[in-house]
Symmetry: C2
Subunit: 490 residues, 2 copies
């Protein structure tokens, strides 16, 4: 919620980008500002530079900047307050940060499949990690200098060889590094030949959903579940069957329809945070073996486990090649890297790689090479150790703050790991409290919306990993202003 964090460099870049347009200067500046605000590059509540400052930075007349600001105020992009400055208008808080916009289809002549795809809505992650948006790592503490040096070295010595078309299965040295890491850290079985490099867990779910599911096939989903998985798998036309989650994870029962696929988050169930117990793991593996169905083990943030040692991956228990293991570098490194991976049963390697060529070819080779270097030179292990300690202390602080200051509003769910904690709200209060939190400038991702069968439990998922101690305290302080007539009694 900084009000003064805008970098002069940012404006210069945006403005230079707009300058290739053959438009008057004022119009160029308006275009750059509109784009920056719409895209969330400049966050809601950020103060824009003073007209004098921006004019000097950009080397243009202050009159031009003044005219552009005036126009954007008239258009509703900016709010200008005398003596305080110009701010991004509040409407863009809702649009870009608190909730992704539901993009509507207007009148486009889509196919029925297209409508089905779009129906589930946008599932993109929040661009700005405001308190308490869920799922983002702290990007301020990534070793960007090390990363830059590794990029530089690769570009100095292998630029041409990394510039061409790459192996659709993934850059071989990265696959070797991933297989070794997974073996060592998660007991995952399988060689580099079974690793498929992808851009994201989302791409893995999209690809596997289409490779393995037909219209009407039954998929067992954890209830509640990760929204991205629900959206990707529902888009295949499969029938998603909610299976309740308790403190041991997914709780299957005999009266459920026979599944073709089971989607699981065994390390930290999303969103409840609990781990799938060993007996449930074995029971689900036995179901998969008997019914010859697939299990997707989405191990999206097991790197960040705080209380004791995490259980090995479920895949390590699988003796019948039923488990497809997914991991991602979006949390452990950074989201915009766009690298994730699957450890595939050997029968799926060829078909999954073929489908990757139809979908989008292969991943950027420079990013793959640098990631391999980062792992192989030990930076990955060091970074994870450091972030794990830091995130643990942030989680502890958030839980303490909630217990001390918000006992009437929030009940904390046990949370041995991950980048967010689930909290329960007084029954019936989620909608009302979320609205109040939004007005107070706090993002409180909905728990109810993660249920396949409404109504779900009232609650929030509070992301803490990207926030400093001060930001956590400030967020909790804002939540203290919330009022409900249905409080928990302490």
């Amino acid at each position: 919620m900084s009000t003064n964090s805008t970098q002069p460099g940012l404006w210069l870049n945006l403005f230079q980008a707009a300058q290739s347009n053959p438009l008057p200067l004022r119009a160029q500046l308006c275009t750059a500002l509109r784009e920056a605000i719409r895209s969330g590059t400049v966050a809601y509540s950020e103060r824009l530079p003073a007209t004098r400052t921006l004019a000097a930075d950009l080397g243009i007349s202050r009159v031009t900047v003044e005219a552009a600001y005036g126009q954007l105020e008239a258009e509703g992009y900016l709010a200008r307050r005398v003596g305080q400055g110009s701010f991004v208008a509040a409407r863009f808080a809702r649009a870009a940060e608190v909730e992704p916009p539901l993009r509507t289809t207007a009148l486009a002549a889509l196919s029925q499949r297209g409508h089905q795809l779009v129906r589930g809505g946008d599932c993109h992650d929040p661009i700005t990690p405001l308190a308490f948006a869920a799922g983002s790592p702290d990007l301020r503490l990534f070793p960007h200098d090390t990363w830059r040096q590794l990029c530089n070295t690769r570009l100095r010595h292998h630029a041409a060889s990394l510039a061409g078309y790459g192996d659709p299965q993934g850059y071989a040295p990265l696959r070797v590094a991933i297989a070794a890491y997974l073996h060592q850290a998660r007991d995952v079985r399988g060689s580099a030949d079974q690793v498929l490099v992808l851009t994201s867990s989302q791409q893995a779910l999209h690809l596997l959903g289409n490779l393995l599911l037909d219209e009407g096939d039954v998929v067992w989903m954890e209830e509640p579940a990760y929204r991205g998985a629900r959206t990707a798998l529902a888009a295949t036309g499969a029938k998603l069957v909610p299976v309740p989650v308790d403190h041991e994870g997914m709780c299957p029962s005999e009266d459920l329809p026979s599944p073709r696929l089971i989607y699981l988050t065994p390390s930290h169930q999303y969103p409840t945070g609990c781990a799938l117990s060993l007996s449930r793991r074995l029971a689900l593996l036995e179901i998969a073996r008997k019914q010859h169905c697939w299990i997707i083990e989405d191990d999206y943030d097991s790197e960040f486990h705080y209380d004791g040692r995490p259980q090995p991956a479920m895949q390590s228990l699988d003796r019948h090649d039923r488990v497809i293991y997914l991991g991602t570098f979006s949390k452990a490194l950074f989201p915009s890297l766009r690298l994730a991976y699957a450890m595939l049963p050997s029968t799926l390697i060829e078909p999954a790689t073929t489908v990757r060529t139809l979908y989008d070819g292969h991943s950027n080779q420079l990013m793959q090479a640098v990631t391999a270097d980062f792992i192989n030179r030990g930076h990955f292990a060091t970074h994870l150790r450091y972030m794990r300690q830091l995130y643990r202390s942030r989680r502890d602080l958030l839980l303490e703050e909630i217990t001390a200051k918000l006992p009437h509003l929030l009940r904390v769910h046990p949370s041995p790991g991950g980048l967010q904690v689930m909290v329960a709200l007084p029954p019936g209060s989620e909608t009302q409290l979320t609205r109040q939190a939004r007005i107070a400038g706090v993002a409180t991702p909905s728990l109810q919306s993660l249920y396949l069968m409404p109504p779900g439990r009232d609650g929030w998922l509070l992301g803490f990993a990207a926030l400093s101690a001060d930001e956590i305290r400030a967020g909790v302080q804002r939540l203290q202003t919330l009022r409900t007539d249905l409080p928990f009694t302490a």
Copy 2:
């Protein structure tokens, strides 16, 4: 076909990658070498470093290297010739370079949709631009230093802000730069708000195919056509209808079934190279308007037009929002960048962006920012001017060489632009001559395989852009050894 180009740095990297494996040194080295050979990182016919050299470079014993080479020879990865050295075995020429392997599905329990996806086979581009593989730009002449400096600057000043989740529609300054470039270079109409950044034309076709087509919908395809488009669109279950191509491009007739989508390559029809004439453009736009169907204009390499000025994009003639314009940076910059773009009719912006969030979220922000910088600082225009001249001279040389030395085998098709030329072979000779060319170490991508309705014309697509003058001459010289009993009479 270099025999001495192997970089010591390459081996060191591959070896370091393998070292995270808890295996003996010899096994680590074998793993690294096998991966490098299988993946095509080390090309067929490359000489490996002498055992003494590699041992010194890697800081390990020569005995270990000798043992690893011996094992790989026994396994069939290497051919060792006394007094000459160790070479990648010939079988990997076929596997990695000449033709992409047809990946088989084995016994995996795929869905029907999965089988449909896999049926069309792998459509990935050749990893090593051997003479005369089609479609690759010359990566040796890309301004890698400039690119590295731009990367460096961005990573020095904006690393954290570029590391997070990005706008699924694309990084705003890049969209602005693309819209301005398309307007200036191709007369494409539309603003940055209509640009959707994607990873590749392939992703665009996959996404649009699913958004706009249902099972059984009719798609008009150029005959012959680009294989990647055919594979992506066929995978939707749509019915692909071949429409013949003559010297004016696609030649529609009244007895064709009514289309839901028309796929076109108007600037340089792939593979024939001819441009779609103005009257055909207008006729196809009129069909689209009347039948309310979509047109995909795949403008995949219009940057490289050699004879006169290229026609403006077909999209610039569209008054009814029927044309979806696609472009890519794979040829104009480099393939592994993984950036392409669509200029969308406004009704498709929201649904297409939503589907992008389901498929894989968004593109790497650093690569988008650096591409924007490369364009905005004028490097893109300079690079295109330089490469256009160079590629023109290479095309001219290839045509001269063919006319002078291969008149009995090849008939050149007129080719005003692009990175490859189509040549006709004596009827009935394609299979036989392709086999001979492969043995001679020359890749000669098939024309017949680009026809939807077999048998197509006998011919090849010869890529020239990635080859120096010497490489072009050497490739033609090898083709002079080919023999057929069905020659053209001169």
